[in-house]
Structure formats: C-alpha cells, structure tokens
C-alpha cells in the first residue's frame, strides 16, 4: 500500500509559472518569485501558511535553493533542495505529496527553477574534455531510439515530424510556452529544419531555456475550504522508480530509460489510482525529443504495442483527438529549463482539470498523467484527477 492509499487525500491547491524562455536579464530569484507568488495567489494562501518547501534545481549553484526561498520571506520553514535531472521538479512534488499524505505537513510548496543561458556560456570555455561520454550527446542517444524503432517498426521521419509540429502548435496556444509560433507549423517544416543527430532535427528537439514553476500541495479538505466554487484537483497517484538491471543496460552516456521503467512506474500509478489507460483524458510526457513521445504512447498503455504510427496518422494525440499529449507544447515547445519542467506539467494539468486551459482546453478532462524521465535515470509519474 502506498502512502496515497492509506494516508490523507492530497490536492494541488495552487499553481504558478514564470514563462519559459531565454531571459538573460532575469535571475533565478526573480523567476521563482513570480512563479511562487502566482501559485500562492492561485491557492488563496499566504507564505505564512506554508509548512515546508521542496526546491528543485539542476544547474543553479550550491545554496541556491534556500537562498531563493528568501524571496518569499524568512519564516523558519524547512527547505530541502532536490535534484533528479530532468525529473527534478516532479521528484520534489513526489516528496511533497508523500509528506502531506503522511500528515507530516499540511501545506507544502514545491518550487523548480533553472537558468541554462548562463551555463551554456560557461561550458563553452571548457575545451579539454576528459570523458569518453562527451561524444554521446542527448540528441544522439534519442536519435538511436529512433533508428532502432525505424528498423523494428518501419517508423518514418514524418511520424516524428508530426509529433513535433503538434507540440509546436500546442505551444502557440500557451502563454507560458517558450516557443509560440505565430502561425500553424506544418510537419514538413519540422522535417526541413537543421539536422542535429539523424533523424532528429532542431524542431524535433527541446530548446535550452530559463524559467520557474511552482505548485502548492495540501489536503483535499483544505482545497475545498480555500476555493469552494472550484473543482478540486486530487493527486491520485505518485510514483518514482530508478532502473532495474537487464542485459544490454547502458552504463555510460546520457541514459534515459530503459522503456521498462515507464511500464513499471505507470503500472504502480494505475494501481494506486484504481484507473487504467482507458480512463486517461490527457497526458504530459518527457518529450525532450519527438521519438520519446512516440515510445511513451505505447509504454504508458495509451495505445497498443506497434500501433503508435497509425495513431499518429489518425491524429489521436492532438488537441481534439482521442487522448491529447503535450497539450501545453511539451518540452519541445513549452520548453525544458530543467528544475521547473515537471512542475510546468502540473500547472498545465491542473488548469485543464479545472477547465481553465483556454484554447488548449481538453473537453471533459477528468484524469491527467504527468510523466517525467530524469537522466541517469529515473521515472516519476503522477496522476491528477478532477474531484
């Protein structure tokens, strides 16, 4: 039994974001203050009501977590910093949800932030690599997923480009997205953009960026008291797993996976929530590269094994389709600064379940998956449900 099944029911009380993008003139503290105050306002709470904070950053320097929290005031609350690569924000939420469910805290603030613009400038000064792994870029790692999939299933570059174009177009409907195209992006444009690692082009890959995102977590009863007229967004599943050994496991390079980790983590979540893939109305995934989203359609059980390509051609995962994926633009268009990325998924799913997602709104959305992978690697997954 998980803490979600025998502990208190947990809700997302409020969410807030600082738009992802290239913000060379904004500090981590600036962006975090914007996202955190927005989340507190959305919840109807003061920072004085917050009992604990879980702060996630990948690239920010040591001490940044507790220092950034001073933007909200100095109340003596426990502040913990956590890092789990791309899944950092999601991992912070996992800890916060467990702490509220267990009764340790009533109100927990989950804050993720990062600034990649600074580190890219710093890393270009380093021209003497000592690691064999430097040759294996993340783009190459995922490109090799694509090559293998093409070999096994006859996947076409067009399928990857269609996923990318969908996510760019969803980003165009999201005011917090880094990439907001001003006119619809056809899939041919994604195919024709610059090649990074065959068959992955720049438009099929997430950008670097800066940003912050925040979620406030508390008991379901408190959510009802604070905002009586608003649907409650419950956390009905929360799971985090690292890898299990299988032959062929990759020990070096920017490893994410193997696919079995998503299968196993989603099985735990479906069991916690008492739901199956057929009950899911919308999904956010770790689409750092378009091939990832394609694999997750099947690994999460949203479509059958080997069916992803036919489902893409039918438009199953687009807004208005059977189960929309990456409704906010995903990592490809909404952006992927690192620490805050998983919490942007929580922001999007919370708005969707409350019916506040504007032009991106998924009709009658009741159950939403937020799935993240963190390099190394881990899988973190939550299911949010309209209560």
């Amino acid at each position: 039994m998980s803490i979600l099944q025998n502990g208190r029911e947990v809700a997302i009380l409020g969410v807030g974001m600082h738009r992802f993008g290239l913000w060379p003139d904004s500090t981590n503290a600036d962006m975090s203050r914007v996202a955190g105050l927005a989340a507190l306002r959305d919840a109807g709470l003061s920072f004085r009501d917050v009992n604990a904070a879980y702060v996630g950053q990948i690239f920010a320097p040591v001490m940044a977590g507790v220092r950034v929290m001073k933007e909200f005031g100095l109340t003596g609350l426990p502040v913990q910093r956590l890092d789990n690569a791309s899944a950092t924000g999601s991992a912070c939420l996992y800890e916060a949800v467990g702490s509220v469910a267990s009764g340790r805290y009533d109100v927990a603030m989950v804050l993720g932030f990062d600034k990649m613009t600074g580190i890219v400038a710093d890393s270009s000064a380093n021209t003497d690599p000592a690691n064999l792994e430097d040759a294996i870029l993340p783009a190459a790692f995922f490109a090799m997923w694509a090559t293998r999939r093409m070999h096994e299933r006859g996947t076409k570059v067009e399928h990857l480009a269609k996923i990318a174009a969908k996510n760019w177009n969803n980003g165009g409907l999201n005011p917090m997205a880094q990439r907001q195209p001003d006119k619809p992006v056809p899939f041919e444009k994604a195919m024709a953009s610059r090649m990074v690692a065959w068959p992955m082009t720049t438009m099929m890959s997430c950008p670097i960026g800066d940003g912050a995102a925040c979620a406030i977590v508390g008991p379901v009863e408190l959510a009802k008291q604070l905002n009586p007229g608003r649907p409650v967004v419950k956390v009905v599943a929360s799971a985090l797993q690292s890898e299990r050994y299988d032959r062929g496991h990759l020990f070096m390079g920017p490893v994410v996976g193997p696919g079995r980790m998503t299968v196993d983590t989603s099985a735990v979540c479906y069991e916690q929530a008492g739901l199956g893939p057929k009950d899911i109305d919308l999904v956010q995934v770790h689409d750092a590269f378009a091939i990832e989203e394609l694999e997750y359609y099947e690994l999460l059980g949203i479509c059958g094994k080997g069916e992803a390509e036919a489902c893409i051609d039918r438009g199953d995962f687009e807004l208005g389709g059977r189960v929309p994926f990456s409704t906010d633009g995903g990592l490809i268009a909404r952006g992927h600064p690192g620490g805050p990325t998983g919490l942007a998924q929580i922001w999007e799913t919370t708005l969707q379940l409350r019916g506040e997602a504007g032009k991106r709104q998924v009709a009658n959305a009741r159950n939403g998956i937020c799935h993240m992978m963190g390099g190394g690697s881990v899988c973190v997954m939550h299911i949010l449900q309209k209560g």
Binding site: D128, A135, L137, A140, M144, A197, Y245, G248, L250, M252
Partner: protein, 150 residues
C-alpha cells in the same frame, strides 16, 4: 586503421587497451561476475545483476554488433581532426559477452546498418606532445566474406 608510428595514450585510463602493435585492435576493459557470469562495461565492483562482490577484471570485444546508430551533425568535442569537424557517427554496440556500449563509429551515415558486424579501433583525436590522444570507436568490418564476430 592507420599504421602510425607515434606513441598513443588513451583519452581516459581504465576503459580500453592501447596495444603496442598498431595493427592489433583494442579491447574494452570490463568486469565479469564470478558468481552469476554476467559481464559489464565499464568496470565495476558489485555485480549489478546478482549483487555479488565476487567480481574480476575481464577484457571484452573487440568484435561488436550494431544495435542502433545515428550521425551527429556537430564537431566531435575535443577533436582537432578535420574528419570530425562536420560530424561523426555514434552507435550502440552489443559486445559478444553481453554488454551494450555507446561509442563513436567510423564512417558516414550511409555506411551504417542495424545488425552489422563491427570491430573496435583506436582513433586519434588530437596530439599531446609527442603522443596521439586516442578514443575507442567501432568500425564496420571491411571484408564481408570474413566479417562478423568469431
């Protein structure tokens, strides 16, 4: 493989051999579990499969089979070679002993095919005084008549 007479040193110690004879292919330096028999690359102390500490060094390769590949359209980080300035191949290679490794590949995009036989080689990426700094990569087996892992 070039028959360079220059001395060679690995980019990083402890991952692959640098044979005295330039015609001899390098081997990968890994670990075998003496309890369950599983092989690993790179070296490790505790068996990842059965958790035994009864492990020993093991030489792996030099043959391999291409599981997947890509061609990266960026210069190879740390290389001063013209060949690497516009891009380089990368593969996931299955070693005959079991481990799968991610390494650069010799050749162009059109030279690679899933399932093809490969052999390890040393590739100089820059000079360090009188020595060539080498990395390990895999190259398609040249002769189709005698190709493949033996």
């Amino acid at each position: 493989m070039s028959g360079t007479a220059r001395a060679r040193r690995p980019l990083k110690l402890g991952y692959f051999t640098v044979p005295e004879n330039p015609a001899e292919p390098p081997k990968l330096m890994g670990t075998v579990c003496k309890d369950c028999g599983e092989y690993f690359f790179p070296k490790r102390v505790v068996c990842a499969k059965c958790l035994s500490e009864n492990t020993a060094d093991a030489m792996l390769g030099p043959q391999g089979t291409l599981y997947s590949y890509t061609f990266v359209h960026f210069p190879l980080f740390g290389s001063t070679k013209v060949e690497h300035s516009t891009g380089y191949g990368v593969g996931q290679v299955d070693l005959p002993e079991g481990p799968r490794v991610q390494v650069p590949l010799a050749g162009k995009q059109e030279d690679f095919k899933v399932g093809m036989a490969l052999v390890a080689e040393l590739d100089p990426i820059r000079e360090d005084g009188d020595k060539d700094v080498v990395i390990l990569r895999f190259a398609p087996v040249v002769s189709p008549d005698h190709g493949g892992a033996k």
